[in-house]
């Protein structure tokens, strides 16, 4: 058996620079402790989604979204609708914990005099680097930024992510294998008219039993962090959706669009 090398595009781009500049010069790019470049893959509700190479930490999340050189701002609304507002940003691949628009963080940063100072910072002002995003409770991860405007149903978004993770779990270890599908089934229910107000807590309880070294690989974190962070930061939306379903069911109204959750089974089984 021969080992197979699988390289990221980002790695190959870094290698090109390192070969051209030499290691020492390459390390001068970026910011201290966060050197070199990153390939940001910007997707979602921006005018110019795409791949942008930046010096690590030299550009903020806000710039990546709004600067004409990068995302160019949120996409235009449909005619006659008011302008779009930013709702959430997933900063480092879909497993990274979500940022809510307007979220503020207290970060310790090196001041101009070299002293560490604590600084309050809006989510959009976070420099796009490893340390800042970790300090803000998420991660730069794969450097894939997903931008969501206010047209997004956050519960639907999480259901979509959870379905992906349930499908991708290899199934080797118990918490991820069982937890990822459980969360996905619950979210499927919640997005198909069968939600409960208690589902917000229900989801977090499932998610809390998966990460933190309980699994063989980091996929356990990857599948549970989105659930933990989405529900924590947008809890009212999860509760509202569940409540609405409960009320509709209490009135005996069945939404013609809803699919019984039983169908989820055959939809993802393969």
């Amino acid at each position: 058996m021969c080992p197979t090398i699988v390289n990221n595009v980002e790695t190959l781009c870094d290698v090109k620079h390192i070969v051209a500049l030499g290691g020492a010069e390459y390390a001068k790019l970026g910011t201290p402790n966060n050197t070199g470049t990153r390939i940001v893959s910007l997707s979602g509700h921006v005018k110019r989604p795409g791949y942008y190479e930046i010096e690590t930490g030299k550009v903020t999340i806000g710039q990546l979204i709004n600067d004409p050189a990068f995302g160019g701002g949120l996409r235009e609304p449909e005619p006659g609708r008011p302008p779009r507002k930013l709702k959430a940003v997933i900063p480092g691949g879909s497993s990274a914990k979500v940022f809510k628009a307007g979220e503020k963080f207290k970060l310790k940063r090196k001041g101009p005099d070299g002293q560490m100072v604590e600084q309050e910072m809006d989510m959009l002002d976070l420099p796009y680097d490893f340390d800042s995003l970790i300090a803000a409770g998420s991660m730069s991860g794969s450097s894939a930024i997903i931008v969501m405007d206010d047209s997004v149903d956050i519960v639907e978004a999480l259901a979509n992510i959870a379905e992906f993770y349930a499908h991708e779990s290899c199934g080797q270890c118990t918490p991820c294998r069982e937890g990822s599908l459980w969360m996905s089934k619950a979210l499927h229910r919640l997005t198909h008219g069968e939600g409960r107000a208690s589902d917000a807590d229900y989801l977090v309880k499932i998610a809390d039993n998966i990460p933190g070294g309980r699994t063989i690989c980091a996929f356990g974190e990857a599948c549970s962090w989105p659930v933990q962070s989405f529900v924590a930061k947008f809890k009212d939306e999860f509760i509202a959706k569940g409540k609405a379903d409960e009320e509709r069911r209490a009135q005996g109204k069945i939404d013609p669009d809803t699919t019984p959750s039983q169908q989820h089974e055959s939809a993802t089984a393969h």
Partner: protein, 566 residues
């Protein structure tokens, strides 16, 4: 070669360095290295250290005789190690104890090596919560089959649910459905919904049995255990997977739905189907044997046994078992008689037998004690003795080419030669020429070997002891019903010289008696030598008398036997 019996087959291992660890606050010294699944010395794991500390760490995928997989996550524990200062020296608390840095992440006890000064925490709220979490995950898609599941009573899922389960499930989603009653092979049925995907069966089959027959297909929660397409799961070791499956996913076609395990009486015994002498547990109820399962003995069979041996028990309960003492009248009619009459008559006849006129054919399925008693008779009468060999194909794991359990014992005691059966022709000739007039046969149909019916007809006295009827028993002048090994106590000597004892599980049918008992009576009648009324006394006396067994005692054999030089 020394003549001293040893409990070990290998020379004593060199001393292993010990290290200090703490398990739930209790300090103990554990060896730095311990045997892994292959017996190789490797760094001791947390679960091994906890076992030495007599602390149970719940686990599903871990099995001491299988390579570690680390997939179930039930064994997660918290731990800490001595904190090191910037000088790489241990940081010391004000009270002089080393400061422990608790790991922010848990570790699986089954795969994590210990280190000096490590503290393992198995009872913290965090550990309890992790166990509850794993158990809940394992149960959400598990069918509630316990009332009809064969594993009930020895199910690890049931067991740990008592300790870590929630009283009510909060799972409100539809369960994943998987194949039920999958026919994996001639002896195994799989219920995929019950499977917790621990991969024990896969690892056993691949790494122990050497037959890469099982695997998992599909991803995530749809993971499904299966035999490779087109492959039948039918190696000679498949039933071991039923033993090691922690739940009721793999079931034995032979045993399923036969008996609730908690009704079974368990008796320590030895498999008699080959010379390996795998240690077994006989599961019986109301004098009926329901199953054999392997019993751990690292010097013989580890935790395994072969399917051939495991399923070879049905003859014990056969309806045509010999259960009456019978004698032939002077008119040649067979009639029922009593042990006293038969043994007295036999003794009288034997006492009159001239030196060299008796021959004995013993079975290599008899016990050491029985051979020794027969040997005493043989010595008294200058009798020819031999046994009959049964050979088949062996394998690399356990099954020996010799399909009898005690040919080694017969040889060490002097009943047969290394070349078993070599004297059978001499016995035949001696009968033919009228030199041998009395033949004693134990547990063999000699008409299938060199002593045909015509030869048997030439004898004055044919004394036969057996369990099942055959052409030889039909012709016996005295027929003495004997016992299956599960109906008596005794010892066998396996192919490597391990002397192992087995205990009585069920009563013999009718008048059948353990051979050692009536042989003992006979020897006493014939030789006048004082007897030993218990198997213990008999064994100990034999051990004094037979050079190969010198130094052994019944008690000293323990449950797993003692190896003697062969």
């Amino acid at each position: 070669m020394s003549n001293t019996a040893t409990t070990e087959t290998k020379p004593a291992a060199p001393a292993i360095e010990k290290i200090k660890v703490k398990v739930d606050g209790r300090e103990l010294e554990v060896p730095k290295l311990m045997p892994d699944w292959q017996g190789k010395l490797v760094p001791t794991t947390m679960i091994q250290a906890c076992e030495l500390a007599k602390t149970d760490v719940p686990h599903y995928c871990y099995h001491p005789k299988l390579p570690v997989a680390g997939n179930c996550r039930m064994c997660l524990v918290e731990f800490g190690t001595p904190a090191l200062g910037p000088d790489r020296k241990p940081v010391i608390n004000p009270d002089g104890t080393p400061k422990i840095a608790k790991s922010p992440r848990p570790a699986i006890a089954c795969a994590t090596p210990i280190s000096p000064g490590m503290e393992i925490y198995t009872q913290t709220p965090g550990v309890k919560q992790m166990r509850e979490g794993v158990l809940e995950f394992l149960l959400i898609n598990h069918p509630l089959d316990c009332p009809i599941c064969d594993q009930a009573g020895e199910c690890k899922l049931q067991e740990y649910s008592v300790d870590y389960g929630q009283s009510a499930s909060r799972f409100v989603e539809p369960k994943v459905h998987k194949p039920k009653a999958v026919d994996l092979g001639p002896r195994i049925v799989l219920d995929d919904e019950r499977c917790i995907l621990c991969t024990r069966c896969i690892r056993f089959t691949k790494d122990i049995a050497g037959d890469d027959a099982l695997g998992i297909v599909n991803r995530g929660s749809y993971n499904t255990l299966t035999a490779y397409p087109g492959k039948v799961f039918d190696n000679n070791y498949t039933l071991n997977t039923v033993d090691i499956c922690p739940v009721g996913a793999l079931t034995s076609k032979d045993f399923r739905f036969q008996m609730r395990v908690w009704f079974l009486k368990e008796t320590k015994s030895i498999c008699t189907s080959c010379a390996t002498g795998c240690n077994i547990i006989v599961g019986s109820r109301e004098e009926k044997v329901y199953r054999y399962t392997p019993r751990e003995n690292d010097a013989v069979n580890a935790c395994w046994m072969c399917d051939h041996g495991r399923l070879n028990y049905k003859w014990i309960g056969r309806a045509d078992r010999l259960a009456e003492v019978r004698r032939q009248t002077s008119e040649g009619r067979s009639e029922k008689t009593t042990w006293t009459v038969a043994l007295n008559e036999i003794a009288e006849k034997l006492k009159k037998a001239p030196h060299g006129s008796v021959a004995i054919v013993a079975s290599a399925r008899q016990t050491n004690e029985e051979f020794w008693l027969l040997k005493k008779l043989a010595d008294k009468f200058g009798a020819l003795t031999d046994s009959i060999g049964y050979f088949g194909e062996g394998d690399k794991l356990l099954l020996n080419v010799d399909r009898t359990p005690n040919r080694t014992g017969a040889r060490l005691i002097g009943i047969c030669q290394a070349n078993v059966g070599i004297k059978m022709m001499v016995i035949a000739d001696s009968i033919k020429v009228g030199k041998v007039k009395t033949l004693i046969v134990f547990g063999e149909d000699v008409t299938k070997s060199s002593l045909d019916a015509e030869l048997l007809g030439k004898l004055d006295t044919l004394i036969v002891s057996d369990i099942l009827p055959n052409e030889t028993t039909k012709r016996a002048h005295y027929l003495l019903p004997g016992c299956a090994h599960v109906e008596k106590r005794g010892t066998f000597t396996n192919i490597k010289g391990r002397v192992q004892k087995f205990m009585k599980a069920v009563e013999a049918p009718g008048d059948a008696r353990p051979e050692w008992e009536f042989l003992h009576d006979l020897v006493y009648n014939v030789t006048g030598q004082d007897g030993f009324l218990t198997i213990e006394g008999l064994f100990n006396e034999m051990a004094k008398d037979v050079p190969a067994f010198n130094g052994l005692t019944w008690a000293g054999l323990g449950d797993t036997g003692v190896t003697v030089p062969t």
